[in-house]
């Protein structure tokens, strides 16, 4: 776990000078009772950047965001927004952020415009600026035709947009969006993404999502969070490179797969050669995927190897690994590593306790369930059998 966690983190964080960061999160942890929601989360966001917070549900995205907004206190660690500590200077932090929680906080009995005026007043927008700020937020979120409609009467997509407008109405330097596109139809999702992209530059944005394409489309940088830990931080492109460490090719060749595989394996940079099944493939042809390591493009060598063996090369296509694969690999690899770690710890514990004690302990804890349960149930049967035979 630590191995994977540290590897991508360091190159991303080292070049940043911490003083210039808009958001700095340092070894942040939060526990509810005994369960840890987030553990040792560290990342930073530079001004004008969009950071995507990617992770499965329950990974700790919302908790991290709530701590950043000052809504929840952290158990340990520090977080600073625009140079202010979220705990000690909570009011200053609140002045500098716009926040869209998972469920948009809307007063359904107000009109869109009335609600935005209320939020503007609440966030301390000066009287003279309110009208311009509200109309600019309405314009940006495409809500102009709904300005006098009661929020109660709006559809889910419009409510989400009102939630967004609420987060930007006071023009905050930092905007925190918790799953901004959830529950929207594809067209609205595109609108929201464009809006977020248009906000970057002047604003620093953190958005959380469990939808992968969203991150590669909108974000400059990605922090992948799983089970309360940030497992990787980098740009979407670099993350892919880091993870796969190279590019891949898909080949269609004429000839046996084994021959092609053997030929390609001769290249030291080739990591994986695998066959791809396709139903209507002509006799004698096969499809295969080659994944290579390192940054050098091996297209020339691969084609040379294939052709050099007398195989026919009919198609050769470069494939980029999508972020979805990265995400899957990260979280599943994390999972596998986790299991391996616990397995290791288990065996280490048994070793440390010593074999003579460890083995009887194993038999004591495990056997009663399996072995002694059987004798118990079989014992009466054995008793009854002789007795019945006696009676007979």
């Amino acid at each position: 776990m630590r191995v994977v966690g540290d590897r991508p983190l360091e190159p991303a964080l080292l070049p940043l000078s911490f003083a210039s960061c808009m958001i700095e999160v340092d070894h942040l942890s939060k526990t509810y009772g005994t369960t840890a929601a987030i553990q040792d989360v560290t990342f930073s966001v530079e001004p004008g950047e969009i950071l995507g917070f990617l992770g499965p549900n329950g990974a700790g995205k919302t908790t991290t965001m709530r701590i950043l907004t000052g809504y929840l206190p952290a158990s340990s660690g520090t977080a600073r927004v625009a140079g202010f500590d979220v705990h000690e200077h909570s009011m200053e932090v609140r002045r500098h952020i716009g926040y869209l929680p998972e469920t948009p906080p809307l007063y359904t009995d107000m009109t869109v415009e009335g609600f935005l005026y209320f939020v503007a007043r609440l966030k301390g927008v000066a009287v003279g600026d309110r009208a311009t700020q509200v109309s600019s937020a309405l314009h940006r979120c495409n809500l102009e035709e709904k300005r006098t409609v009661l929020i109660r009467k709006l559809s889910k997509g419009f409510r989400q947009r009102v939630g967004l407008a609420q987060a930007i109405v006071h023009d905050p330097p930092v905007i925190i969006l918790d799953e901004p596109t959830v529950g929207l139809d594809p067209r609205q999702i595109i609108d929201v993404r464009n809006l977020i992209k248009s906000l970057a530059g002047d604003h620093t944005i953190i958005l959380s999502t469990h939808i992968l394409p969203e991150v590669s489309m909108t974000c400059n940088r990605v922090a992948i969070i799983n089970q309360g830990r940030v497992v990787a931080t980098n740009s979407p492109d670099q993350l892919m490179e880091q993870l796969i460490g190279g590019s891949g090719y898909e080949l269609e060749i004429e000839g046996p797969f084994a021959v092609a595989e053997a030929a390609l394996r001769e290249l030291p940079e080739v990591k994986v050669v695998e066959a791809i099944a396709r139903p209507n493939l002509d006799e004698g042809y096969c499809l295969l995927r080659v994944i290579t390591e390192g940054s050098t493009d091996l297209g020339r060598q691969i084609s040379a190897k294939v052709v050099g063996r007398g195989l026919g090369l009919y198609e050769m296509r470069r494939v980029k690994v999508s972020l979805e694969d990265v995400f899957l690999e990260l979280t599943t690899e994390e999972h596998a590593l986790d299991d391996a770690m616990t397995e290791l710890e288990k065996t280490a514990g048994v070793d440390a306790a010593g074999d003579p004690i460890g083995e009887p302990a194993e038999t004591v804890t495990r056997d009663p369930l399996g072995d002694s349960a059987a004798p118990l149930s079989s014992a009466p049967r054995e008793d009854s059998d002789p007795s019945s035979s006696d009676a007979a």
């Binding site: 926040y99 906080p105 007063y107 009995d109 107000m110 007043r121 609440l122």
Partner: protein
């Protein structure tokens, strides 16, 4: 800070005036209090009839100050009626915010918990005040019809007493509302607590001693009756102000605690 409180007050008022529920409460309040007004003043058992029959019998001692007597009976009834209606006004103050998730907006805005609580309390007090205004109009008309016209200061003192009592009930109701997501539960609990405080002095008559004395001081009806009869004792004022301050303080604390325990 003042700006923030004003923002909250305006929002609260807006939601009351936009809600059919609040109008229903106001309607019931006006209907019943209008009935009380007529019954106390003009009814067969009303003040005017009883004074007239006294005159016929030739009883002049002790003299009766009719407007004054009327107001204290009417305001007493109004107080009891408010006891039922005020929990319904205060029940949604925080319970609705919790249910809607808008508490997260307030808690991440540059406004302190106590400013929110003060704003909300002021908002609901203003709404209740507008509810009582027409009734005070009735009383004022009745006062002006008496000869010689009664002093309006008595009316104003009575109104102030009613508002103070209402503010105390609303402040405690607001605190109870901040404890739960359920508006109904908040209303029931508030009503139970207020009923207890309303008749605290009756309950402790049997206890007696210093403990009974202390508890009887918490009684709302005792201090309320003093105020609407024009007895302006500082201890009564202090009790009401303490209730209001305690309500605001506890509300701010409970919202703070809520954020710490939220999972």
């Amino acid at each position: 800070m003042i700006n923030n409180i004003v923002a909250i007050v305006r929002r609260e008022l807006q939601s009351y005036f936009a809600s059919p529920f609040a109008y229903a409460i106001a309607g019931i309040f006006w209907l019943l209090s209008g009935f009380f007004f007529v019954a106390v003043l003009l009814g067969p058992e009303g003040i005017i009839t009883s004074v007239a029959s006294r005159d016929q019998l030739g009883i002049v001692d002790p003299p009766i100050d009719v407007p004054y007597q009327f107001q204290s009976v009417f305001l007493n009834l109004l107080g009891s009626l408010s006891l039922f209606l005020l929990p319904m006004l205060s029940m949604g103050l925080y319970a609705d915010e919790r249910k809607r998730g808008t508490l997260e907006l307030l808690a991440t805005s540059p406004i302190t918990n106590w400013a929110v609580a003060v704003g909300k309390l002021l908002g609901v007090i203003v709404f209740f005040f507008t509810m009582t205004l027409p009734l005070m109009g009735f009383v004022a008309i009745a006062f002006s019809a008496s000869t010689p016209p009664a002093a309006y200061t008595v009316l104003l003192a009575g109104l102030a007493g009613l508002m103070l009592m209402a503010a105390s009930v609303l402040a405690m109701g607001m605190f109870i509302s901040s404890l739960t997501d359920s508006t109904i539960l908040a209303a029931i609990l508030t009503f139970a607590l207020m009923l207890l405080l309303w008749v605290a002095d009756l309950l402790v008559n049997s206890i007696g001693g210093p403990v009974g004395d202390t508890i009887s001081h918490l009684s709302l009806i005792k201090h309320y009756n003093n105020l609407i009869q024009g007895k302006l004792d500082t201890s009564g004022l202090l009790v009401f102000i303490s209730y209001i301050a305690l309500g605001v303080f506890l509300t701010a604390q409970s919202i703070d605690a809520l954020r710490h325990q939220r999972s």
